[in-house]
Structure formats: structure tokens, C-alpha cells
């Protein structure tokens, strides 16, 4: 299977329009004015799907769909959001479990019909769907089983997040299409094929990102004694103006480098403020005087960010058989989106969409979470992948431990 940038762009637009339709249906019924915040296509490891849902409780509806595209899709609300929507439909209904349930079913059904119809219209093909099934589960278990992905363990997921103005409620739409019909559709919508990327190569990239994150996590353990887990890595594709939204609006601390070579781009290592203090203090030999994030904390973060970056970039260079240099790290301490915005703008001078490679590590023992993002130049990433021999990719897959 090959995917090209144009068909990824088209499919992203489709998912976005589907989500817009679903949102409009909801706004009409409830009077709640909402806007689609993020839509992206990601290639994710089966095991990692839904990681961002955490342990929260969700309710929603699940469908199977079949036709031009086949697979499973869910629309889920967190509990607070569902209460708000249910009450907007029928005041007081949220207190009555059976009324709450039927309201969620009703609105879920209408929203998802809009979503699926949007796709079918665009594809000028029929997509049938089953009646909605009400679901009520926690975290990632709310998602349907991922389809069998014949030779590989990575699947495409379409995700949309919708936010209300007061930022207190949101819902997610996940669409997990089966591999073969999607591949066929993408091939149909592909351009002449000049910029097509064999999907296997994107998967290799994901694996290398994962290995890089593991290496970075080892460094964190070695230096700070914090053992991390749940490394998630994925490669996503989104319009350039949606790139800053991948990061939350909270304040982050971390490092940013520009890397050069093929591909060039930017690499960010970000910690939320609490995690930054935790990890910095674990790195420092003695207690720090002063509250919050001091200059000493920041210099420890800078050092750690540098080491995590090096592990990552070295891994890429090995796989790609290209030298990848990077600038000295720049320390950042600012609003998440404002950190990413200038980087997206710099890429945006040459491209309308961007690949976002992201990876996360965390631990339950202490307050610690770190996110790593790579934003490669799109054309150069394609070039690099083009030169990446799949045989070599197989080799490096086996060699991953030695490489890092």
C-alpha cells in the first residue's frame, strides 16, 4: 500500500468535514455552539490506540460501517460533557440514567449519520452503517477492536476533537477503517504517484520513533532515576494551521532544536511544569533554594533535553543512513501552542500540511510526563523515505536495539 500526500490531505479534509457535520447536527439539537478543534490522520500501533483517553469514563455510540470503506467507528463523550449535552436536549435528563442513555443514543446516532454521510457524499459511493450501539466504558476500552492489519501492527486512525467555547466539554470521533478498502480508496485518490510513500516505510519510521523514545526514556531513568512507561509513538498528518493544536495550551518547559540534513525540521522535548520540576530535581545533586522553576531547574532541563534529542536524532540518522545534525538546544518555557506556532509557521512557508511525529512517556510513580515531537519538512521526509530501502528497514528493525 502506498499513500501520497495529496490523498492524505484529501482524507484529512474529509474527516474534518464529517466532524463538522456531526458538530452542526449537535449544535442544532442542543443549541450548544461548538467548533471542530483538531482533525488528524494517524498511523498508530494497535496497542496504543486511545492512549490519550487516559482512565476517564466515557459514554457514546459505536457503529460498524461497510461499503466504500469498512470498519468501526465510535463517538464518545466524557461524563461531564455527556451530562451537559443531555441536559441541553432535555433539562434534568442527565439525572435519570435511562433518559440519559437514550439521549446519548439519539444524539450519537444523528451526529454519526452526518459524519458517515459526509464521507459517502464525497466518495460518491454508498457506506452502510449498523444501528448505533450504546457504550459506556473507561479509557481506551471504549474504542472498538482494531481491524486485523494483515502484515503489520499499525493502523490508520481518523480522530477529531471538538471543543466548546468554555473549554469544559469535548467529544472524540475515532474511525478505524479496515486496511484493504482504505488502501484501495487511497490509491484511487492518489495523484500520479510521484509523491507516494509506501506505507511500510512510514511504519518503519514509527518503529524508529518508538525506539528513540525508549532510548530517551532510558536516559531519563539513568540520569534521574525515574522509570517511565507507556511510550506511545505515532505519525500524524494534519493541515499546517492545526499543528500547534497538537500541544495543549498549558505552560510547558523544554528544548527545541532545528535538525538539518534529509529531512530537516524541528524536534521538541516538552515537559509540563510539574514534570519539569520533578525531573530537574531528580537530576540535581542537592536541594534547590527557591520556589517553582528556578534557573537551576531550567539548566537541568536543558541538559536532559539535549541528551534526549541526541538519542532521537542519532536513531534517525542510522535508519536513514544520512547524517542528521542539529542546532544547540534552545530552552523554552511558554504556552504550549505558542512554542509550536513559530515552528509550524517556518514549515508553513513551503507546505500546506505537515507530518507530526510524536511520542510520549510517563510514569505513575511520580508526577512525570514528557512529550517529544518531530516536525520534519514534508518534501524532504518523502525524499528520505524514498531512499530508505525496505530491506534496509527490515535490517534496522532487527537492529533497533544496537542502533540506539
Amino acid at each position: 500500500m502506498k499513500v501520497d500526500v495529496q490523498s492524505l490531505g484529501t482524507f484529512n479534509q474529509l474527516a474534518h468535514e464529517g466532524a463538522e457535520q456531526a458538530t452542526q447536527s449537535m449544535s442544532q439539537m442542543t443549541g450548544i455552539d461548538a467548533a471542530v478543534d483538531v482533525t488528524k490522520i494517524s498511523l498508530v500501533d494497535r496497542a496504543d490506540i486511545g492512549e490519550e483517553l487516559g482512565d476517564d469514563e466515557f459514554v457514546g455510540v459505536q457503529f460498524s460501517f461497510e461499503g466504500a470503506l469498512s470498519g468501526e467507528t465510535v463517538l464518545v463523550f466524557d461524563q461531564a460533557s455527556s451530562d451537559k449535552i443531555v441536559n441541553a436536549l432535555m433539562p434534568g435528563a442527565a439525572d435519570d440514567p435511562s433518559m440519559a442513555r437514550s439521549s446519548v443514543e439519539e444524539i450519537g446516532n444523528i451526529m454519526m449519520s452526518g459524519f458517515i454521510d459526509g464521507w459517502a457524499d464525497y466518495l460518491e459511493a454508498a457506506i452502510e452503517h449498523t444501528p448505533p450501539e450504546y457504550i459506556e466504558r473507561s479509557g481506551a476500552s471504549v474504542l472498538p477492536d482494531a481491524p486485523e492489519a494483515s502484515e503489520n501492527d499499525q493502523i490508520f486512525v481518523f480522530r477529531s476533537e471538538v471543543e466548546w467555547l468554555d473549554e469544559s466539554v469535548s467529544f472524540y470521533i475515532y474511525m478505524l477503517p479496515e486496511y484493504d478498502p482504505l488502501a484501495e480508496l487511497m490509491a484511487d485518490h492518489a495523484d500520479a504517484g510521484d509523491d507516494a510513500i509506501p506505507i511500510e516505510k512510514l511504519e518503519v519510521f514509527n518503529q524508529m520513533t518508538r525506539s528513540g523514545t525508549e532510548k530517551a526514556a532510558e536516559n531519563v531513568e539513568m540520569m534521574a532515576g525515574i522509570q517511565t512507561e507507556a511510550e506511545v509513538s505515532q505519525i500524524s498528518f494534519a493541515p499546517i494551521e492545526d499543528v500547534p493544536k497538537q500541544v495543549g495550551n498549558d505552560t510547558y518547559v523544554g528544548t527545541v532544536v532545528e535538525f538539518t540534513g534529509t529531512p530537516s525540521g524541528f524536534l521538541l522535548v516538552l515537559f509540563d511544569e510539574t514534570s519539569a520540576v520533578t525531573v530537574a530535581e531528580a537530576l540535581m545533586p542537592m536541594e534547590v533554594a527557591g520556589e517553582g522553576l528556578t534557573a537551576q531547574h531550567k539548566s537541568a532541563i536543558e541538559e536532559l533535553g539535549n541528551i534526549m534529542t541526541s538519542g532521537f536524532v542519532d536513531g534517525w540518522a542510522n535508519v536513514l543512513q544520512q547524517s542528521v545534525d542539529h542546532s544547540p538546544p534552545r530552552l523554552v518555557h511558554d504556552m504550549g501552542r505558542a512554542i509550536v506556532d513559530p515552528l509550524a509557521a517556518q514549515l508553513g512557508q513551503h507546505q500546506r500540511h505537515a507530518f507530526i511525529i510524536d511520542s510520549k512517556m510517563k510514569t505513575d510513580e511520580v508526577e512525570f510526563e514528557s512529550e517529544i515531537y518531530a516536525l520534519p519538512n514534508e518534501a524532504e521526509l518523502r525524499e528520505a523515505l524514498d531512499e530508505l530501502l525496505v530491506e534496509r528497514a527490515d535490517e534496522t528493525e532487527a537492529d533497533a536495539d544496537q542502533i540506539f
Binding site: A35, E163, D166, I339, V340, P342, A345, G348, Q349, R352
Partner: protein
């Protein structure tokens, strides 16, 4: 990207807080109903806030890159030149008068600019917005641009005040 008029908030009570409308990256909003327009996470991006004090028509656009000429892209709100032009047009369509419109601008930071030669995107964004506003004769009556930090904005359309927030500094009211 809608124009919000009085009818969009019929369900709101008179004494409620004004409606808040979020403006995303490469998006704009115009209000005629006293709403508060907000946008967040401006790095090198720039927020252009326009206000007609007499009619209370106000608008905010969050642009990302200097000029639409440099790219083949269908979204005018993404660029400093076409985004500003679009906002002026929409303000006029909503009843604002070009003679009265005043501008306040914020953003255009130099943070994380890795370009080695020439001006960074933040600087060019600011220059382009100034040039486009000047071509309409719209005065800039308040600004907080440049520097090396991010900003979030809140345009209070009733007064035309633009509140600039940043992660590590106190709020500024323009």
C-alpha cells in the same frame, strides 16, 4: 468563520457575561453583539483586532504567515495581508465604517526563529499587517509585538480593549 449578530444569542440573558467566541489559527470572527473574542498561543503568529467605537462592531483574525503571494493556498485568513483585508471587508459588511475602524495588534514574537538570514516570520508578519492597515488608512492605536514570548488575546468588543496575556508576565491591556 461566522458573523455573530444579536440573534445568535437569543438564549442568553441580558445580565449574563458576554458570549465568548474562540478564534483559531488562520480563522477570524466578527461580532456586533458585544461578544468577547479570544485567541490563544500566538508565537510568531499575529492577532489583528479591529474595532469601530461607534457601532461596536469588532473583529479578530489570527494570521500565521506574511503574504498569500508566497503560497498557493485557499485560506485567506492564514496570511497577514489577505487576512487583514478579509477582516476589514467583514467589519464593513457588519456595519463598521472604514473611517472609524481602529486597530490593535499583538504577537509576532521572534521566539524559536531558526532562520539564518533575513527577518524572521514574526517580524515580517508585523510589517505586513502594518502595511495592509496603512493602505486602508486604519490607525494602530495599541500594540504589543515582538519579544521572545508567546501571547494569548482577549478582545472585549464592547470597549475595544485588547487584553494580552503571556505565560511569564502580567497581563497588558491595550
Amino acid at each position: 468563520m461566522k458573523v455573530y449578530d444579536g440573534s445568535s444569542q437569543t438564549e442568553q440573558t441580558q445580565d449574563a457575561d458576554p458570549e465568548r467566541i474562540k478564534v483559531g489559527i488562520a480563522e477570524y470572527e466578527v461580532t456586533t453583539s458585544g461578544s468577547v473574542l479570544t485567541t490563544s498561543g500566538l508565537g510568531s503568529c499575529i492577532g489583528v483586532a479591529l474595532h469601530d467605537p461607534e457601532t461596536g462592531v469588532a473583529g479578530l483574525v489570527h494570521v500565521m504567515l506574511p503574504s498569500a503571494d508566497e503560497m498557493d493556498d485557499g485560506n485567506p485568513a492564514k496570511f497577514a495581508d489577505t487576512g487583514t483585508e478579509l477582516l476589514v471587508d467583514e467589519m464593513e459588511a457588519a456595519g463598521a465604517s472604514l473611517r472609524r475602524i481602529e486597530a490593535k495588534i499583538a504577537g509576532g514574537s521572534d521566539m524559536l526563529d531558526f532562520s539564518e538570514s533575513g527577518s524572521g516570520i514574526g517580524v515580517r508578519n508585523v510589517e505586513q499587517v502594518r502595511e495592509t492597515l496603512d493602505s486602508y488608512g486604519i490607525p494602530i492605536v495599541g500594540e504589543d509585538v515582538g519579544g521572545d514570548h508567546g501571547r494569548s488575546l482577549r478582545l472585549e468588543s464592547q470597549s475595544g480593549d485588547l487584553v494580552v496575556k503571556s505565560a511569564n508576565q502580567d497581563d497588558t491591556r491595550l
